[in-house]
């Protein structure tokens, strides 16, 4: 079920995937609005946003910002490709982490206190969820005949969700963080203000903000595909699982208020890590 890695497929993926990500984002905004008793924007609103941003004047604060924005996008696209073509899972993880890191460094390189605080909070969030993701990859490794390739869960006869349930739950918490949803939207929340005025992305405007938004679409699609991995045959179940997870994230976002980074760090390194480690341990002993 792995796609062949030829140039045509790559180009098609690069062109089509952000549209899917935009749709996911639009559906999320619509559901949020409806649950608050509002009407909400049209489903394709994120695309209108990007088109508008591209038409604006490019403003910057210093030279380095542009580089970081491009790196963020490039690494996110690469991570998406590594996932879809089923390459090494740890390499995928590192590329994905470095994409977020480029965003963080882009936030740090401007002399805005809001941006720096946002970057610092994002680093703490990264430190909070990285162990879970690495343990998830190790879980995949243990469940798939000791293969670190992402193509292994794609072709596995047993759905990963049944073998790695606790890791899936821990991953859902990580998903909430990556989607910038409450209670974890401390670094740069998606729509609302927060006490640090947009955090990391504050000094990006116009086309550069469009680059960051585009990267976020790729990220949304990437996370969606990643959840589909948990039940890859039949694939419609995986898609259903992913849709349900995203819906759950929206619901949680509307239920919770924002909590602090310290709480997030402690929560991830105790509860979520505990879930992940338990799952890994029972896999390890099962294989002995």
């Amino acid at each position: 079920m792995t796609l062949p890695a030829n140039p045509l497929t790559i180009v098609l993926l690069i062109l089509i995937v952000p549209l899917f990500g935009a749709l996911l984002s639009g559906i999320d905004r619509r559901i949020t609005a409806r649950s608050q008793g509002r009407i909400g924007p049209p489903l394709l609103q994120p695309l209108y946003d990007i088109i508008k941003l591209l038409r604006k004047e490019p403003l910057l604060t210093n030279r380095a910002q542009v580089v970081y924005a491009h790196l963020h996008l490039a690494f996110m696209v690469l991570a998406m490709l590594l996932l879809v073509f089923g390459k090494d899972s740890l390499m995928f993880l590192f590329v994905f982490a470095f994409s977020t890191l480029s965003l963080v460094l882009g936030g740090m390189c401007v002399r805005s206190p809001y941006s720096r605080i946002g970057s610092q909070r994002e680093i703490i969030l990264m430190v909070a969820y990285e162990p879970i993701l690495i343990l998830l990859m190790v879980g995949f490794y243990m469940a798939n005949n000791h293969s670190f390739q992402l193509s292994a869960p794609m072709m596995s006869p047993v759905p990963m969700l049944l073998v790695l349930p606790l890791l899936f739950v821990a991953f859902l918490v990580v998903l909430a963080i990556k989607l910038q949803k409450s209670p974890f939207d401390v670094a740069t929340s998606h729509h609302a203000h927060q006490e640090i005025v947009k955090g990391i992305t504050i000094e990006y405007s116009g086309p550069y903000l469009a680059i960051l938004e585009l990267a976020h679409f790729y990220e949304l699609a990437l996370l969606f595909f990643f959840i589909v991995l948990f039940w890859s045959s039949p694939i419609w179940v995986g898609i259903l699982l992913a849709s349900f997870s995203f819906f759950l994230m929206t619901v949680v976002d509307n239920l919770f208020a924002r909590l602090t980074t310290h709480w997030t760090f402690k929560f991830m390194w105790t509860s979520a890590l505990g879930l992940a480690v338990t799952n890994i341990l029972w896999l390890y002993w099962a294989s002995k």
Partner: protein
């Protein structure tokens, strides 16, 4: 809402309070609530001028905040429009004779839309922002007919408000 299609589909708004009694600000924030729901027009309330297209200003200009207002305006990327919300930002309002008040914000910025009212009603505000989005579209495409350069939004009377509420009810 008839002419939405022609407007710029996603005008992002930043709101700045110069010297206001907060009346207009409260009415503006009411626009974001489910009763009036600005987001269905694609309008996002961003806190940061660098992300915004529309600068909504309440309150009059005084010596202290003139340069701050100018600073915030300068940080917005082109194309941008300015909406003066309420009579204080249009002309100075009832504080116009105060010793510290310089007047409306047109003393400092080029204003595109004036929305009178004390406080301005949310419906008038929405109308003003949408008109501003229309001007935005025109500014971007380069044609700014004289008639669109500044527009005065009429505060709805009681009769038109009643008629408007019937129309509004069909959307909710």
């Amino acid at each position: 809402m008839t002419n939405v299609q022609k407007f710029n589909k996603s005008p992002w708004v930043v709101h700045f309070n110069c010297n206001s009694c907060n009346g207009c600000d409260i009415e503006f924030l009411a626009c974001l609530t489910p009763l009036y729901d600005l987001e269905r027009f694609g309008i996002l309330h961003v806190g940061n001028p660098k992300h915004a297209d529309v600068l909504v200003v309440t309150g009059s200009v005084n010596h202290r905040n003139a340069r701050v207002l100018r600073n915030v305006y300068d940080q917005m990327p082109d194309p941008k429009v300015v909406v003066a919300m309420g009579v204080c930002s249009s002309t100075g309002g009832i504080f116009a004779d105060g010793y510290n008040v310089l007047g409306g914000i047109d003393k400092v910025l080029p204003v595109d839309v004036f929305v009178p009212g004390c406080p301005a009603r949310p419906e008038a505000m929405i109308d003003g922002i949408l008109k501003a989005a229309q001007i935005l579209e025109a500014k971007h495409s380069g044609k700014t007919p004289l008639a669109m350069k500044t527009m005065l939004i009429r505060t709805p009377t009681l009769a038109s408000a009643a008629a408007g509420q019937e129309k509004g009810a069909s959307h909710a």
